[in-house]
């Protein structure tokens, strides 16, 4: 029997193949990275730079570099004597957006949790039907869905028309272009974003734990509060994030339902790049929004990183 100790060829050939395989994988990923890098990341960097430039007369930017944009976020400079006065308008819009986003997230949670729980406790055949029913609005055109709401709640819209016809009203109630309209629109847009992650989390729930809870004389409410909700925490956090962040930066909803009166950050930024022709300011506002998003994401990562892994 030939016994030859010859490790080199086999090992070399195999590791050569391995390295080639890695190279191929990198190469495959490269095109996507290039496209997103050039047309996705680079534009964001440009915005960062723009926030430190000066507005050009007809839109766009020019040199010199300055921090005027950031200053004008909070202050207005008197043309004559250069004094700065605190102008809360933009800050108010940010605050309003934050409140809307929080309110929306909260209501979505209140409505979404029971819905997701109900869905997760259906028998499997029914379950996929429910998922389909929730998924359809999720992927439907946001603009159209917002317009649908607008058509219903506007003064000459369906709701008012119906109430007047039924004799419950004499004049239409103003619902469009109010806080109510915007929050309703946000709620309508993002409810599926809350339900689906919650459902995903609750589906994995081990109901034997619930059974154990009942066995130990817990009431329904206690079981919910002490067992189900803590275990569904990942889903709650994910869903909340998926609602809060887009709601904070919402554009279509305030555009159609806010009428320029109840502006949110989204249409404020768009305005700077449109009629207001103040790109640096818009860029600055965009970055401040982005900072808010990053804080929220950081909060999420912190929250899930410290979690005990459920086997």
């Amino acid at each position: 029997m030939a016994v030859i100790l010859d490790p080199a060829p086999a090992l070399q050939a195999a590791s050569l193949r391995e390295r080639l395989a890695v190279r191929v994988k990198r190469l495959l990923t490269l095109p996507a990275l290039l496209v997103i890098g050039i047309f996705g990341i680079l534009p964001l960097l440009i915005i960062v730079v723009y926030s430190f430039l000066t507005a050009a007369p007809y839109g766009g930017v020019t040199l010199p570099f300055s921090t005027d944009a950031y200053v004008s976020f909070l202050f207005q400079q008197d043309i004559f004597d250069g004094t700065l006065t605190f102008v809360p308008d933009y800050l108010l819009i940010f605050l309003r957006s934050f409140i809307y986003a929080v309110a929306t997230t909260f209501i979505c949670l209140l409505l979404g949790f029971p819905t997701a729980y109900f869905m997760a406790t259906r028998p499997p055949s029914q379950r996929s039907l429910w998922v389909l029913l929730i998924t359809i609005p999720f992927w439907s055109n946001l603009l159209v869905r917002t317009i649908a709401i607008m058509l219903i709640i506007r003064d000459q819209g369906l709701l008012n028309g119906l109430l007047i016809k039924l004799g419950l009203l004499h004049r239409p109630i103003v619902m469009l272009y109010t806080d109510f309209a915007v929050v309703l629109g946000l709620l309508y847009s993002f409810l599926p974003f809350m339900v689906l992650p919650l459902f995903s989390s609750l589906e994995k729930l081990d109901f034997r734990l619930v059974e154990a809870g009942y066995d130990l004389y817990a009431t329904r409410w206690q079981v919910l509060r002490r067992i189900v909700i803590p275990l569904a925490k990942p889903g709650i956090v994910a869903g909340s994030l998926l609602v809060f962040i887009p709601a904070l930066g919402a554009y279509v909803t305030p555009l159609i339902l806010g009428g320029g009166i109840h502006m949110m950050i989204g249409d404020l930024i768009a305005q700077q790049f449109g009629s207001s022709r103040d790109w640096p300011l818009g860029a600055a506002q965009a970055l401040i929004l982005m900072a808010g998003v990053i804080v929220a994401l950081f909060f999420y990562v912190r929250n899930t990183a410290g979690k005990v892994q459920h086997g």
Partner: protein, 272 residues
Amino acid sequence: MAEPAQRWAIDLKHQPGFKGVAIFCLVILYAPIAVLALFSFNSSDLLTQLDGLSLRWYGQALWNGDFYDAAANTMIISISATITSTMLATAAALGTTRSKPWRGQTAAFMVINLPLMVPEIITAVATLAFFSLLASLLRIDFGIGNLILAHTVFCVPFAYMPIRARLEDMDVTLENAAADLYATPWNAFKRVTLPLLLPGISAGAALAFIVSFDDFTITQLVAGPGQTTLPLYIWSQIRRPITPELNAMCSILLAVSILFVLASYLIARKRR
């Protein structure tokens, strides 16, 4: 305690009122679009009263030259963006799944999913700034290609997810078996991996298409003259006095979305 005997008769998954909330949510989600669709069939042009059913508004919408132009633009942009993004996403999924993570793979993964993290309005203004810079500084303007590129960027992560999921689900021993049976890595990919990946690629393409087709925010800020898409066209119609023709156009858009969602769902079920 009288409870124990009763307790076992209770469905322990049941929580009172939850069913009601669930149904309420479904109603909220579907009522507006149901109403929208319903009134698109209204035979009169009133928006608050349903007189009878007719297809007249659909006829009017489809007869509308501007509507067709917008539809054509949308198709060009969305189909191009879908094809491109699906190809990029497939390659990226193959490169980032099912092997020992290579150096920088997590970073690559984050870059691919970046468009999902950034609020759309920020992406929209950034893209606008980018293309106007390109035009003014380098005199490069791709025309409708600008929109196609912008759409491709945010379509990639949507196509990537289902493809990656499908790839991870696939049995690794199948490729081993192919290699065992004399298939070179390329042949194994062509004859085994790719056919089995096809449902994932289809699902990814469907998602990419819907997302591109429905996009408003980015398109509105980036589109130049003559590049109106269907969502943009509908938006322009809101400014005017509202007619049920608007309902019809909106319903057409909804129908397209729903069709694609159903198609994705059925494809996913078929491979069970």
